[in-house]
């Protein structure tokens, strides 16, 4: 049957058709929809894990238990899961294990644009690189097969354009499921040094067999055409190459680690001029140059940002002269007001950041919707590195002698990587404050359940992690739980926490408005006569407060009634009391 599927949906479909039984993930753009889709197949156990390391371990355990397993994450998630990955390469598998890493060239929704192809080489495991949704499905099944045939975890790497791009997929019925069963084998599954040394030999021997497989598999193919130009490529870059150079000869790599050396040499010898077209790092280029082959690569194509048909066209024409760059493309855009994403109107996070800015604190931020508070007018985030880094980072600044530092992170990020940082603060005698923005959901990635939200991925009820009780158990004595819509309470709690001599935790608790639609109230009313036009309300950065000179009050401030949900923050800060709140629920 033919269907239009995103790459993520196609991976889920491939896992189901390929007989996967256990699947785990932590949400992260652009990978999130893989597990959301898998959760719709009742044959597969699926879960949101607290972080990628746990997800990887659950999937590896599933494989040890004899069934086929999948774990998915965004590129930076693999940094978190790298520990089990590198040793899973030694233990190998029992049931097939596929690890999905979704890279984000162009950083559409990420803090860096690392190229995770390097992980395949570093961890010594094979990696597949699909170039559309049909291949995403097919390669997921091929990865599960190769995993069992070569006794190795297999990485499947996508990029944003593959994960979120949609194309036509032919689907089929699922394979019969493997029966579970663990066969104890200490020399394989217990990685003490004595056994690990032997397994390392097995890993090296396996790589040789995989290199032979790379020469023979249909995952790699040569498309001979005009031999005056030859292009080695993979993933989404293959599509751009076919778009702009339909007559060129192409070596399309589906298995990008290990590489088929003989196939590459034969291809290089058969063409007059050789290019390597790949997004991000010169991963293929460096390996192919190491075979003694000369080619045109990153001197013609950018290392930063996404590729696109224009950049590939430009690179192939210009060869080794001028380089194109994503920045140069951006400069050409018409000079128009930007429409950057912002915190929603009525977002429970807004009041906290307004308060932190007012108190002139140094804010160690983290990964989530609330990172948007870095933008104007709030500008209340000073650092953002990775999941959980707000806590360790603030501790380090405190020890460096910086005063007035505060950590801010969401509930899901706290569970993912914040708890150990808080333990460190208590253990090493910090005086710092951690704010947990508890909106009862993993919001940024599209509202996924987490360990504190009271529901599982299936929607079934689950025990909700009690964050205040957890903090108490970790040794925090000064804990404040406040409603972030109550600015006075927020300010009082933050001041008290900052003044407290030991570790403090402030929990701002209110569900994300996107999950709690009943919290929406009628729009606030602005009294145009009473307004003195100080513009303080604009400092909230609320999308519902618009500046329309000539309309509304004297200074042209207008409440957009469609967007306003009546949270009342503007009412609380208005010095002229010109804004009134309605208590009635908003009908949509």
């Amino acid at each position: 049957m033919k269907k239009l599927l995103s790459g993520n949906e196609a991976i889920a479909r491939g896992a189901w058709e390929g007989g996967a039984r256990v699947a785990s993930a932590y949400p992260g753009t652009p990978s999130t929809e893989i597990m959301e889709k898998i959760a719709t197949y009742p044959e597969i156990y699926s879960e949101w894990a607290p972080n990628e390391k746990v997800a990887m371990e659950v999937a590896l355990g599933g494989s040890f238990g004899g069934v086929r397993a999948l774990v998915s994450m965004k590129h930076v998630g693999l940094n978190v899961a790298a520990d089990p990955l590198f040793t899973a390469a030694y233990t190998g598998v029992n049931g097939g294990l596929v690890i999905i890493t979704a890279d984000d060239p162009g950083m559409h929704s990420s803090q860096n644009e690392q190229d995770n192809r390097h992980y395949a080489r570093a961890a010594k495991v094979p990696m597949l690189d699909p170039s559309d949704s049909a291949e995403a499905r097919e390669f997921t099944m091929a990865a599960l097969d190769a995993s069992e045939n070569f006794d190795t975890p297999v990485l499947l790497r996508t990029t944003t354009r593959i994960s979120h791009g949609k194309s036509v997929v032919k689907t089929a019925e699922p394979l019969p499921l493997r029966q579970p069963g663990f066969q104890p084998n200490k020399a394989k599954y217990v990685m003490i040094p004595a056994y690990g040394k032997r397994r390392h030999l097995a890993v090296e021997e396996r790589l040789k067999r995989l290199a032979e497989f790379a020469e023979a598999t249909a995952l790699n193919r040569t498309e001979w055409a005009d031999t005056s130009i030859g292009i080695i490529t993979s993933g989404i870059a293959y599509q751009y190459v076919k778009e702009v150079a339909p007559h060129a000869s192409v070596l399309k790599l589906g298995l990008i680690w290990p590489l088929p050396a003989a196939m590459i040499k034969e291809f290089a010898a058969g063409v007059d001029r050789l290019y390597v077209v790949e997004e991000l790092d010169p991963f293929l280029e460096e390996q192919i140059k190491a075979l003694g082959i000369s080619l045109t690569g990153k001197e013609a194509f950018p290392v930063t940002g996404e590729l696109n048909p224009e950049l590939v066209r430009k690179g192939l024409r210009l060869g080794e002269t001028e380089t194109g760059s994503a920045e140069a493309e951006m400069v050409k855009a018409i000079d128009l007001p930007m429409r950057a994403p912002a915190m929603c109107s009525g977002c429970p996070h807004r009041g906290l950041f307004y308060t932190l800015k007012k108190l002139k604190l140094v804010v160690a931020g983290d990964i989530g919707c609330y990172t948007l508070a870095v933008g104007k007018p709030l500008e209340a985030i000073d650092t953002c590195v990775c999941m959980g880094a707000s806590i360790g980072g603030a501790m380090g600044m405190e020890r460096a002698g910086v005063e007035g530092v505060i950590s801010v992170l969401g509930d899901s990020t706290f569970i993912h990587s914040g708890i150990t940082g808080l333990i460190n603060m208590v253990y090493n005698g910090s005086h710092g404050t951690v704010v947990v923005l508890d909106n009862r959901i993993t919001a940024m990635t599209g509202r996924q359940q987490n360990a504190a939200s009271g529901k599982r991925i299936s929607g079934d009820e689950a025990p909700a992690l009690d964050i205040p009780q957890l903090c108490r158990a970790l040794g925090v004595n000064d804990i404040h739980v406040v409603d972030p819509y109550d600015l006075q309470a927020v300010e009082k709690a933050v001041r008290a926490a900052v003044d407290h001599p030991g570790v403090s935790v402030v929990i701002t608790r209110r569900p994300c408005l996107l999950i709690d639609k009943k919290a929406r109230r009628q729009p606030v009313r602005l009294d145009n006569e009473a307004c003195r036009g100080c513009g303080l309300c604009l400092k909230l950065g609320c999308p519902a407060i618009e500046k329309v000179p000539g309309e509304g009050c004297k200074t042209g401030i207008r409440i957009n009634e469609t967007l306003c949900i009546g949270c009342g923050l503007c009412n609380q800060i208005c010095p002229s009391r010109a804004i009134t709140v309605e208590r009635e629920e908003k009908r949509l």
Partner: protein
């Protein structure tokens, strides 16, 4: 080489852009085309610009439309229409909803007042409609995307019943009626524009 046709959908997160793009893609598959679609989500819910590329033909490679090769631009808002105008090929058609959504923190004085005129000057043909107002006439402002899809359906060589069954598959009951009506109002708008 067989010709690939390109449609760009552009607007503001929350306007139903991705749904319209998705439904059109499925209509084109039903009509027998190879289809690819590419868009960025993740940030879309938070009021950012959203662009969805839709390509169809006998065989489609790149999911991204090469810049300046869009045949039809469907813009859900004036500023986003103007922002996407450089994507349109010479002689391309721009369908623009005549509505303004101020970006957060942007004063109305910084919003380009002449967006529609600039779009009309650049496009081979500009079709202007207030999709939200039209959708309100159909019963719900949120069906604005169906109004634009109705206009788009007049510009593509796909039978009307394929579009209608796509709407029927997607919506139920009262919501279906509203969306179907919005789609038909879009078609009527286009028919009137052509006969005028």
């Amino acid at each position: 080489m067989s010709k690939v046709s390109n449609i760009t959908f552009a607007g503001v997160g929350g306007q139903g852009i991705l749904l319209a793009s998705d439904m059109t893609a499925n209509v084109l598959i039903s009509a027998g085309y190879d289809v690819k679609q590419s868009e960025i989500h993740g940030m879309s819910q938070r009021g950012g610009s959203v662009v969805s590329d839709l390509r169809f033909g006998r065989k489609v490679y790149s999911p991204l439309i090469p810049k300046g090769e869009t045949d039809i631009l469907i813009a859900f808002e004036r500023l986003e229409g103007l922002r996407s105008i450089p994507l349109l090929r010479p002689g391309g058609i721009a369908v623009v909803s005549d509505e303004i959504i101020l970006p957060v923190g942007c004063s109305a004085t910084d919003y380009p007042a002449d967006a529609l005129e600039r779009i009309a000057a650049e496009a081979g043909e500009a079709i202007i409609v207030n999709a939200t107002e039209t959708a309100v006439r159909a019963g719900n402002a949120r069906a604005a995307n169906m109004v634009l899809m109705g206009i788009l359906s007049c510009l593509l060589q796909v039978k009307e019943n394929i579009w209608l069954s796509a709407i029927r598959e997607r919506f139920n009951g009262k919501i279906f009626e509203i969306n179907e009506k919005a789609f038909n109002l879009g078609r009527e708008h286009q028919v009137m524009a052509v006969t005028r």
